[in-house]
């Protein structure tokens, strides 16, 4: 309910008609103590009010004595001069009240009709909007399901790609290890080959020198002994070089 509800002001309710007289000295006078009279009579009161009754001797602090009020018919007033009949004046305020209530009712009905119409229109607008939003939600849900399916597929592909990347990185690392091992092996073989070549060369020179020295020694008388000794020392150096080269080769082979 738009605007919320407001508490109804209970204290503003008009008091019951009889409560207006609570505490009033109903027994103080004969009029106030008069019994209820007929509404029809009350609706057409006499034009001339009745004379007041005799005074009541009231004892202070006590209630007075009830004195019945004279019954008025309204047709004729006994106290009125004889021969004069007063026409009862019709009261207009009940009619006015009824008209007022009717107007108020019509106004309220009009207001409620307009309010109802406005709310119906608003409800129709909101229903259309909600249906549009519902259509959008349904479409979005469908798209979401598609996207989630694609996401799951992409995640699976990503996982596969990641696993493949890790595998490729490992394969590359292993190839790098193998490359380094092969490079070290090639370096080793190169060193061994070089050492073996140096050994072979030194041995060849040693053998050739020794063969030459043997030939010189067979005809030693033809040569200067000092020069023969020098040559023999040179051949020995060559053979020593061959020995050292062989030692180096053995060292490389041992690595």
């Amino acid at each position: 309910m738009p605007g919320g509800s407001y508490p109804c002001p209970v204290s503003d309710q008009p008091p019951a008609p009889h409560e207006a007289f609570v505490g009033a000295p109903r027994h103080a006078t004969a009029r106030s103590a008069a019994p209820p009279v007929d509404s029809r009579v009350q609706a057409y009161p006499p034009t001339v009010p009745p004379p007041p009754g005799p005074p009541v001797a009231a004892v202070p602090g006590t209630l007075g004595t009830l004195v019945p009020a004279p019954v008025r018919t309204g047709a004729t007033d006994p106290a009125a001069p004889s021969g004069t009949r007063t026409r009862p004046r019709r009261r207009r305020w009940p009619t006015a009240t009824l008209v007022l209530l009717t107007v108020l009712g019509l106004a309220a009905s009009t207001y409620l009709w307009r309010t109802s119409t406005a709310w119906q229109e608003r409800s129709a607008d909101y229903l259309a909007a909600s249906q549009d939003l519902g259509s959008q939600v349904a479409a979005t849900r469908g798209e979401l399901a598609d996207v989630q399916a694609e996401l799951a597929a992409v995640r699976a592909q990503l996982g596969t790609a990641q696993a493949r990347i890790v595998e490729l990185a490992d394969e590359k690392a292993q190839l790098g290890d193998d490359r380094e091992v092969q490079r070290q092996l090639a370096d080793y073989q190169e060193r061994v080959t070089d050492a073996a070549g140096r050994v072979a060369l030194a041995l060849d020179q040693c053998v050739q020198g020794q063969n030459q020295l043997i030939g010189y020694m067979e005809n030693a008388a033809q040569y200067d002994p000092v020069e023969l000794d020098q040559y023999a020392t040179s051949v020995q150096d060559l053979c020593q070089t061959a020995t050292e080269a062989n030692t180096a080769l053995q060292g490389e082979l041992a690595r």
Partner: protein, 249 residues
């Protein structure tokens, strides 16, 4: 003069009028609709909480994987591999024995990229070494503020046996003095499985912070870990790391 009593019709009319006015005054009377709401979509869309299965790195790899590196120690007549991890853009942490007697250090990342090494230095008081790289590393984690305690879950990320990048999990099961006498002070013992080649692997806590560095294992498949407090102390000491020696052919 006392008021006259009201007639029944009058009382009824007054009562009806009062009731009518009261009803009119009450707020339960329907109100006209206010301004129509035309925008039903909130200006700020609700943000969905991450389900924890996604990876936020540029290539989908976890940070633990992205920070790990494989170190190849090409010696004069030998070849060995180890693991390491970045602590900043161009600095790696690994073990001293991983970079010992090297002729050349070769570093590769989780995705197989090779990163050139510019220098390496080793610590004398712990089995730790620092490796500097020429290019920037993919990412680097934070060092934990304190050492883990017994019962804490840990994750070891490295290259066991020089193979694929592997993450293993376990718990810290105690502390002990270094059985290899490589480290000063106590080291951590964990049940996370490691292998030769895992040396230098980062040990991470549940938040991804580095809490230690793997450096050895025993026959019971328990791993020994240099605690992060030791790593921090050595990093804070300018003289703790000295240039590593190369092998002689």
């Amino acid at each position: 003069m006392s008021p006259r009593p009201l007639a029944a019709t009058t009382r009824a009319a007054v009562l009806g009028l009062s009731l009518g006015l009261s009803i009119g005054a009450c707020a339960d009377v329907p109100r006209m609709p206010g301004p129509a709401v035309t925008d039903f979509v909130p200006s700020e869309a609700p943000t969905a909480a991450p389900d924890g299965t996604g990876n936020l790195s540029p290539d989908g790899f976890q940070q633990a994987q992205r920070m790990a590196v494989r170190i190849r120690n090409v010696g004069c007549a030998s070849l060995s591999t180890g693991s390491g991890f970045a602590i900043d853009a161009t600095t790696l942490i690994t073990n001293r024995h991983v970079v010992a007697d090297t002729a050349e250090l070769q570093v590769s990342t989780y995705d197989g990229r090779d990163i050139a090494v510019t220098a390496s230095s080793t610590a004398a008081l712990a089995d730790l070494a620092i490796v500097r790289t020429a290019a920037e590393l993919p990412t680097f984690p934070e060092l934990a503020a304190v050492d883990p305690v017994v019962g804490d879950s840990v994750t070891v990320v490295g290259y066991p046996e020089g193979g694929v990048l592997t993450l293993t999990t376990g718990e810290v099961i105690g502390t002990t003095t270094d059985p290899l006498n490589e480290n000063l002070g106590e080291v951590l013992v964990a049940n996370a499985q490691v292998e030769p080649g895992s040396s230098g692997s980062a040990v991470l806590d549940v938040d991804g912070h580095v809490v230690g560095v793997v450096y050895a294992k025993n026959a019971a498949d328990q791993s020994y870990i240099v605690p992060v407090s030791t790593l921090r102390a050595l990093l804070d000491d300018d003289g703790a790391f000295t240039p590593s020696s190369s092998c002689t052919p």
